[in-house]
Amino acid sequence: MADKILAKDKLGEFLGKLQADYELHAPQEIEGKAQWAPLAQAEDALWEFSNTHMSPKEYFFPQTECMMRFVNQQDGEDGMVMHAEPELEGKRLLLNIRPCDAKAFSVLDMIFVQDEMTNDLYWKDKRDKTTLVGLACSDPCPTCFCTSMNCGPASTTGLDALLFDLGDKLLVRALTEKGEAVAEGLDEAGEAEAAAAEEQTKAAEAKITSEVGMDQVNARSVMELYEAGMWDRVYESCLNCGTCTYACPTCHCFDIQDETQGGEGRRVRNWDNCMSWLFTMHGTGHNPRGTKKDRVRQRFMHKFKYIPVKRGGEIGCVGCGRCVLLCPVNIDVRRVVNDMNA
């Protein structure tokens, strides 16, 4: 489908129409930071921001999610009949999601939905019912390194439509059927507008100064990387907190727990992280990743080696730079991967 054009002064009308079919969410300025929230009116949507403080993964993989409910008893037949939580009602649309965050979801799709057995319906349901309308980056941050991670300021992977902000108007590029449904009824864009979007993308790519090399990481074997001497220094200052993993758009580890209250119970999953000492602890007291070094190495190996090995070269990182900004001890993923690649 050809590119469409949407004048910014028609935005209210456009979003108003969408509101009838979708629950709209978009990055907005909250407490001085760009944060995801339900979009009440078009004016609240941000157009100039680097990226949101936290990744929008919470929309598909909430930090706490009830999976099923049950009657809290073991001696009656009802005790083990588990009722899955109801599916998402209606459709959702995330407006102005950054291409890197959308790319992250396409990586997670490969992990949450693999086959008949590995088929996370909680994730899939929300993904199926959500339309992702991206906003191409025109002004990437010094911490962005998406172009090194098979991604980029106007990457389309995972998106249903991509918007380019051309000042007083938006170029709307539908990428999937879901995206076409959103762009329906808009005027077609001219060649000049498409060219402007192209130019903006090139300029944005040129602004990305952080480079991370992956060629040696790809060439080396799992064991060669695992046994590299660099791990002896990377972990030194790590606090083993979960900041990097919870801010990360691709980190997806979780814990499952049962909670009961009188005669009722639920099985709930919560984000968990590989930095935690107890994450891999066996009931016997043996811990396969018992040291801080093991755990720090696991996080980087998982993203940059294990996922690529298992998922046809796809990297478990999109270069959003959130962990670089938020790590309390400045463990910079760019430095780590460049060390792995050295």
Binding site: P62, Q261, E264
Partner: protein, 56 residues
Amino acid sequence: MKNLLEYVGIEPGRLHFSWISSAEATKFQDTVIEVTEAVKALGPAQHMIKDIRKVA
């Protein structure tokens, strides 16, 4: 602990400390009555209540 809980808005009177010897059965009984009455007077707790029936 008592101060901290009151500081974050838990009503005074929900936490009670007493020093009771194992031989002081009557004091124990009196204290329990006193505490339960004090808590009943406060009504159901409004804070630090987790209800798993709520949607999460």
